[in-house]
């Protein structure tokens, strides 16, 4: 592929997803300046690798590269504990006793009232891989298959990560503090 052609492809495939790319990078790194660095690095990789894009879902392709770049950044700049979540995969989420809340659902009311800061804090406290699964689904609106492709795990793992991530956030927001 000549250079002009890859420029056009880059403009078609990568540029439309820059907001999504930045959003994901910000959720993974936790701040705006680092997210910009990650996106820039990811876009450079995308430009170099555009010849390998076989068509199909451009957004998923871009987000896969952004996620990889973001995790490389985490490995370099954060303690390994932030990334090692395999132990947590087995951890069970504490959920409210369903029987007692039947009928009026006070947690749901508390969750619905959570403000932006509380919501951000709850999501930010999740281990990275639970957080990005939740963000890809509920902030960016991707379906399970796309999330499985981006995070390189089977759909069953996406399902369990998502259920646990939501369960934890629900517990945090539903606690009356």
């Amino acid at each position: 592929m000549d250079r002009g052609d890859s420029r056009t492809r880059f403009a078609n495939v990568v540029m439309p997803h820059l907001d999504d790319a930045y959003s994901l990078a910000r959720w993974v790194t936790g701040n705006r300046a680092d997210a910009e660095d990650v996106v820039q690095e990811a876009c450079l990789r995308a430009f170099r690798g555009i010849g390998g894009f076989s068509g199909g879902n451009g957004r998923a392709w871009v987000l896969t590269i952004v996620r990889n770049a973001a995790y490389d950044w985490l490995r370099k700049n954060r303690s390994p504990a932030v990334i090692q979540v395999h132990d947590l995969e087995a951890e069970r989420v504490q959920v409210p006793d369903d029987a007692t809340s039947a009928g009026n659902n006070p947690e749901a009311a508390l969750i619905a009232r959570a403000d932006e800061a509380k919501l951000e804090a709850a999501i930010a406290s999740l281990p990275a891989m639970f957080r990005d699964t939740l963000v890809l689904r509920d902030v960016q609106g991707l379906d399970y298959r796309e999330i499985a492709a981006i995070t390189c795990v089977p759909i069953g793992t996406v399902m369990s990560r998502l259920a646990r991530a939501r369960g934890r956030v629900i517990v945090m927001l539903g606690a009356d503090t």
């Binding site: 420029r7 056009t8 749901a108 959570a114 951000e120 259920a163």
Partner: protein
């Protein structure tokens, strides 16, 4: 009855619309029988709602956008094939070959200037719209607003069909310029995907799904005096569903 781990996964997948119809039906029965399931569903839906409403939409800063664009400053469209008669002749030759091979290479023929293949031009218009802050010039989910807006600007306005019930809400409309001719484009949404539907003077009959370009699928069909081109990053089968729904839909009286 308390929920097992597996029930939780199924409940989340059910809420996300990820269960196939048979499993969804089966799960709905259990949902009706278990107040605990219904309570957890209310909490998950509350969380989904609050995330959608309260979290600000993150956008790349103009500075970041400039830096990334500078990585690969694209050639402006429509200049590519204006290099001269030589390249035009080469293009014409390649088109002749493409037709002979039975593949599709409709050229922009409705105005002087660009001689780029029409599907590429339509994908470029779609991409430009995605990158703008607004994908539409007139934002309205009401076809009774969108159609008159076109009427005031173009000699021929497209059918505007309400497809909300089929899962394709109308977002609005915009005017794209193909060659030198302004043409109407309707914008619909399918979940998070944007569909650009451009109407051009009729070229041929039948519905065709074209090979995707850079990940964008294209479906084209002719209805009376107009040929409609749908462009989206939606998967091809869903874009074909959209095309069928649009063709079957009741137009503005």
């Amino acid at each position: 009855m308390t929920m097992t781990e597996n029930d939780r996964l199924l409940l989340n997948a059910y809420i996300d619309g990820e269960l196939d119809p048979a499993h969804a039906l089966e799960f709905e029965r259990r949902l009706a029988d278990n107040p605990a399931f219904a309570d957890e569903r209310t909490r998950i839906e509350a969380l989904r709602g609050v995330m959608r409403e309260r979290l600000p939409r993150e956008t790349a800063s103009p500075a970041l956008r400039r830096r990334v664009a500078a990585l690969a400053r694209p050639q402006p469209f429509a200049t590519t094939w204006r290099a001269g008669w030589a390249s035009m002749a080469a293009m014409a030759a390649s088109v002749a070959i493409a037709f002979a091979a039975g593949s599709i290479a409709t050229l922009v023929a409705i105005g002087p200037g660009s001689r780029e293949p029409l599907p590429e031009v339509l994908v470029a218009s779609h991409v430009r719209a995605l990158m703008a802050s607004q994908t539409v010039d007139v934002a309205s989910s009401d076809r009774h607003t969108v159609k008159p807006w076109f009427n005031g600007k173009l000699p021929q306005s497209p059918r505007v069909v309400d497809l909300t019930a089929q899962g394709f809400p109308l977002v609005g409309g915009r005017i794209d310029v193909i060659g030198l001719t302004p043409v109407p484009t309707l914008v619909y949404r399918a979940r998070q995907h944007v569909i650009s539907l451009t109407a051009l003077p009729a070229s041929r009959r039948g519905e065709t799904t074209l090979p995707p370009i850079d990940g964008y699928n294209i479906v084209e069909w002719t209805d009376g005096q107009l040929t409609y081109w749908a462009v989206s990053d939606l998967v091809a089968s869903e874009l074909e569903n959209f095309a069928r729904a649009f063709r079957a839909g009741e137009a503005e009286p």
